[in-house]
C-alpha cells in the first residue's frame, strides 16, 4: 500500500491506536515531503567529512609520529637542534588536541578562527582531521615503540641506515600491530562527524534536528540517525576485519 494513502487513512481515524500513531510519527519523520532524502544528503556529507578528516589525520599523524620517533631515537651526542624545535611543536600540538574536548575545538575553529567562512562542513572536516591527527600520531608512535628493539638493532647491525631499517623492518611490522587501534580511531572519527552540526555542518544530525523542529517529535529522526551511523560503522568494522585477517596470514604460512 502507498505510505501516503496509509497515513491519510490513519489520520482520518478519530481515535488512532498505538501502532497507527507510531506509523504516523514515522511517516512525518521519513516520508513526508521526501524527508528521507535529507538523511541521505547528511549521510553523504558524513562520509565526505570522514574521508577528508581521515586523510588529513593520517598525513598529520604520520608526520608527527615520524618526527617524534626520530627525535627520541637519536644517538647520544648527535642531537639535531632543528629536530628538537620541531619535536617541541609536535608535542604541544598533541598535548593541546588531546587535552581539550572535540566540541570546544570545533567551536573555536568554527566561531573564532574561521568566523567569516560559510563552508561549515569543510571547517568541520578540517577540525576533525586536526583532532584525529594527534591521536593517530600517538597510535603510530606507540606501535613503533612497542616493536622489539632487537628488530631495528638487527637491521642497523647489518649496516642498514635508519631510514631503510624503518622502511623494511620496523614500519611493516608496526603497521600490523597498530591496525586494530587505528581502526578504533577511525570509528571514533566517523561518529565524531555528528558533532559538526554544532557549527552548522550539514550532516545527518543537522537534518534530523531540523525535522525535529518541524514535527516536535524527536524519537524517530534520532533513532534513524543512530541506525545510519551503526550501519556505517558495521560496514567499516567488516572491512577492517578482512584486512587484519589478510595481514595475519603471513604469520602462519
Amino acid at each position: 500500500m502507498d505510505p501516503t494513502a496509509l497515513y491519510e487513512s490513519f489520520k482520518a481515524l478519530e481515535d488512532p491506536g498505538f501502532w497507527q500513531e507510531a506509523y504516523m510519527k514515522f511517516y512525518n519523520a521519513w516520508f513526508y515531503e521526501d524527508r528521507w532524502v535529507t538523511y541521505f544528503q547528511g549521510l553523504l556529507t558524513t562520509v565526505e567529512v570522514t574521508v577528508i578528516a581521515l586523510i588529513l589525520g593520517v598525513i598529520l599523524g604520520v608526520v608527527v609520529a615520524t618526527i617524534r620517533t626520530a627525535h627520541d631515537q637519536q644517538r647520544l651526542g648527535r642531537r639535531n637542534p632543528v629536530l628538537g624545535v620541531v619535536n617541541l611543536f609536535c608535542k604541544i600540538y598533541v598535548t593541546v588536541i588531546r587535552g581539550t574536548p572535540m566540541m570546544v575545538q570545533l567551536m573555536i575553529m568554527g566561531f573564532v578562527i574561521f568566523k567569516s567562512s560559510r563552508n561549515f562542513t569543510m571547517v568541520g572536516a578540517l577540525s576533525l582531521g586536526i583532532n584525529s591527527g594527534a591521536y593517530v600520531a600517538e597510535i603510530i608512535r606507540g606501535g613503533l615503540m612497542s616493536l622489539d628493539p632487537g628488530q631495528s638493532e638487527a637491521g642497523r647491525s647489518l649496516g642498514l641506515g635508519y631510514l631503510d631499517t624503518m622502511r623494511f623492518i620496523v614500519i611493516p611490522q608496526a603497521f600490523k600491530a597498530i591496525l586494530p587501534s587505528l581502526g578504533n580511531e577511525f570509528i571514533t572519527l566517523l561518529k565524531d562527524t555528528s558533532l559538526i552540526s554544532v557549527i552548522a555542518g550539514k550532516e545527518i544530525v543537522y537534518f534530523a534536528k531540523s525535522i525535529v523542529t518541524k514535527t516536535y517529535e524527536a524519537m524517530y529522526p534520532y533513532v534513524i540517525t543512530a541506525i545510519m551511523y551503526l550501519i556505517l560503522v558495521l560496514i567499516f568494522s567488516w572491512l577492517q576485519g578482512k584486512l587484519e585477517r589478510r595481514l595475519r596470514q603471513s604469520d602462519r604460512r
Partner: protein, 240 residues
C-alpha cells in the same frame, strides 16, 4: 683490528663498563665469559656502537668509530652481529632476510645476493628453508640463519652475543658447529658465551669480566687450568 681505549659506559648512575682498554688482532677468537651483569654484553654491543660509550674511544681498522662524524653504517657493514634472540625479520622470507642488507647497501646486485644466500644456506644445510618464514623454523635453525644473514655482508669480524643461550639444549650443538667451522676458516670472532667447552676448544683468548672490568685473560687451556684471580676461581667452580 679493534683497539679499545679507556672505554666506559654507564646507564644513568649505573656504571656498567669501567675504563676498559683492549686490543683485538685479526684472526683472533676472543671469548668473553663472566657472571650476568658483568658488562660483557654491553662491551660487545659497544664494539659496533649499538650502545654509545659514555667515555673512551674505539678504533676499527684505523677508523675511530666513536667519533660523531664517523659513518657508523659503513663500519657496521664490515662487522657481523649475532644476537641471543636471533632477531630474524618475521615479516620476510629467509631469502629476503639474508639478501636485504647486501642489496640495500649496494654491496651486491640482487642476483649476486641470491647466489650468495644459496651458497651460505647450502653450507649450513638449510637450503630447503630458503622460502620459509622465520616462524616455521626451530631455534637452532633460526640462529644458523642469523649467522648466515650476518655472513652475507662478507664481514671482517663477527660479534656473537650469547648465541646459544636461548636455545633448547639439543639445538646448541648445531649452532656451535657452524661457529667452529667459521673459526677454522680464520674469521675474527668476539663471542660472549656460557659455553665453556666452546671457549676451550675454539677460543684463542678468554677474557673474564666482572663488575665492568676485565679481571683476567689468558690463552684458554692455561685460563681454565690455572685461573689466577679468586673471583675467576669462584666463577669457574660454579659453572664447570
Amino acid at each position: 683490528m679493534i683497539d679499545v681505549k679507556h672505554l666506559s659506559k654507564s646507564f644513568g648512575k649505573n656504571l656498567v663498563l669501567d675504563d676498559i682498554s683492549e686490543h683485538i688482532n685479526p684472526g683472533e677468537k676472543v671469548v668473553i665469559i663472566g657472571p650476568s651483569g658483568s658488562g660483557k654484553s654491553t662491551f660487545l654491543r659497544c664494539l659496533n656502537l649499538l650502545e654509545t660509550p659514555t667515555a673512551g674511544t674505539i678504533t676499527f681498522d684505523g677508523t675511530e668509530i666513536t667519533d660523531p662524524k664517523c659513518d657508523i653504517d659503513k663500519i657496521r657493514q664490515q662487522m657481523g652481529m649475532v644476537f641471543q634472540h636471533f632477531n630474524l625479520f618475521p615479516n620476510m622470507t629467509i631469502r629476503r632476510n639474508i639478501t636485504l642488507a647486501p642489496v640495500r647497501t649496494k654491496l651486491m646486485s640482487p642476483a649476486e645476493a641470491d647466489a650468495e644466500a644459496e651458497k651460505l644456506l647450502e653450507r649450513v644445510g638449510l637450503m630447503d628453508k630458503i622460502d620459509a618464514y622465520p616462524a616455521q623454523l626451530s631455534g637452532g635453525q633460526k640462529q644458523r640463519i642469523a649467522i648466515v644473514r650476518a655472513l652475507a655482508m662478507k664481514p671482517k669480524l663477527m660479534l656473537f652475543d650469547e648465541p646459544t643461550s636461548a636455545l633448547d639444549p639439543e639445538m646448541v650443538g648445531e649452532v656451535l658447529d657452524v661457529m667452529k667451522e667459521l673459526a677454522h676458516e680464520g674469521m675474527t670472532m668476539v663471542v660472549v658465551t656460557h659455553e665453556m667447552g666452546f671457549a676451550r676448544e675454539v677460543g684463542s683468548r678468554v677474557l673474564f669480566m666482572d663488575g665492568g672490568h676485565i679481571l683476567e685473560q689468558n690463552e684458554p687451556h692455561e685460563f681454565f687450568a690455572h685461573p689466577k684471580e679468586q673471583r675467576t676461581i669462584d666463577f669457574l667452580s660454579k659453572v664447570l
